[in-house]
Amino acid sequence: MQRALVAVTVIAAVAGVGLALLTGVEPVLGALALTVVAALALARMSGRQGGDLPLALLFYGGIAAGFLLTARAGGGQTAVLGLLFGSPFNLSWRQVGVVVVLAGLVVLVVAAVYRQLVAMAFDEPSARVAGIPTSGLSLALTVLVALVVVAGMSTVGLLLISALLVVPVAAAAQLAGSYRATLAIASATGAVSALVGLSASYYADLAPGAAVVVTAIGLYALAGLAAGVRGRLAVRP
């Protein structure tokens, strides 16, 4: 469900930007609105109908709507490619400000509901019995994913932001012994990936989003190697 959520959120952001371009609204707001709507629709549709059909409908519907709306708004292929692959070296200070504010908001929300998120991640029925409003928390999680996708849209681009949602966490999970350590290592992995990827991109004239994600995958492989070595050392008498 969470993987489906990321995919749908990313694609809904494309449609949201198209809608924003058409109506003259700030693209970030358009993307945020449609990602939340799509994530809620996915949750509702998945409850009624199992399988991958809700995901497929929203995914392809989002792509189609995004391209139709962007084309209708007069945005050419360049605008669409800019959204898909990002352009971190061409950000305005205003866009940087939006990313900083969104990132701060995500940190605040995670800090406020951290314990509840941990309980729900471990076992949702038990969390519900403990009096945690799991439906509301899922909604908060959805909005968080939407915020991250929107924040990443103008940097690594929509196609690669989902990779940055998954790969650093996967890398951290191989090394960490706790949820808290996973959060810390994943954040550090994401930051190092961005720093190394963008530096490589700047000096070697590479596509920035792709360089960031390839660095993240390299760190994932290194983490796997380190976990393997640690495991072998642990079983040695």
Binding site: A119, S126, A130, A173, G177, S178, Y179, R180
Partner: protein, 233 residues
């Protein structure tokens, strides 16, 4: 069924199920404080439905369910109720330490940025002691044996000092020594800490000698039985 005083859980004339076909029919039941009640029956008989009703996760089609005297639909003091699932829904790759699992039991009480109080910390230490988990508290819960994982789940349910504890199939997938450890822990919880325990199992032997009452669920009907009368579950 025999009347009991100070019931922690009451069901009056409850009919419940999924869709049109009821799983439990016209069920009335009272569970007393400080007792271990075994609920046994074959798979699919309605044991889980009974638990879901008691925890407010399923609404009855008819009748009322009360926890500590309050209708379950209006019950808010969930720290008084502990629930130990048969298996947590967690992914095997989720990196969560035993300590974090136990502390997550307090998430319903600690909203926002509230920090653990000294009382909470003492309680965490106490349940780790009772469940014999101190030595593995920093380890990932998914790396533990089935019995240790089961004890971690019980510790998490106990951390809020509940008066009523539900154990759903607690002996599934654990070895003989873990069953002995679980039995000793339950004796302590009921005998020393005075917690009411509802022990749900398809295996009537699991709670033999521990249960003050044994209820058999079969074909949508619940009846009180003597453990020796159970067979063929």
């Amino acid at each position: 069924m025999r009347p009991v005083s100070s019931p922690v859980l009451e069901l009056d004339g409850v009919t419940a199920g999924y869709g049109r076909a009821p799983v439990l029919v016209d069920l009335s039941l009272r569970l007393a404080a400080g007792e271990l009640t075994a609920v046994v029956g074959p798979n699919g008989a309605g044991k889980t439905t009974l638990v879901r009703l008691a925890l407010g996760l399923l609404r009855p089609q008819r009748g009322t369910v009360r926890l500590f005297g309050t209708d379950v639909t209006r019950f808010r003091d969930w720290s008084r109720v502990g629930y130990v699932p048969q298996r947590a829904e967690t992914s095997s790759t989720l990196p969560m330490s035993v300590d974090e699992v136990v502390r997550s039991g307090l998430a319903g009480q600690l909203r926002g940025l509230r920090r653990l109080t000294s009382h909470h910390r003492e309680r965490v230490e106490h349940v780790l002691d009772v469940m014999d988990l101190q030595a593995v508290r920093r380890q990932r819960v998914t790396t533990l044996s089935g019995g240790q994982q089961q004890r971690a789940l019980i510790a998490r349910a106990l951390v809020t000092s509940p008066g009523l504890l539900f154990l759903d199939e607690p002996t599934t997938g654990i070895d003989a020594s873990a069953k002995v450890a679980l039995r000793e822990a339950l004796e302590h919880l009921v005998g020393v800490e005075g917690i009411s325990v509802v022990y749900i199992s398809h295996d009537p032997e699991g709670a033999a000698g521990l249960a003050a009452r044994t209820l058999e669920v079969r074909d949508g009907v619940v009846r009180e039985v003597r453990p020796s009368a159970l067979s063929g579950l």
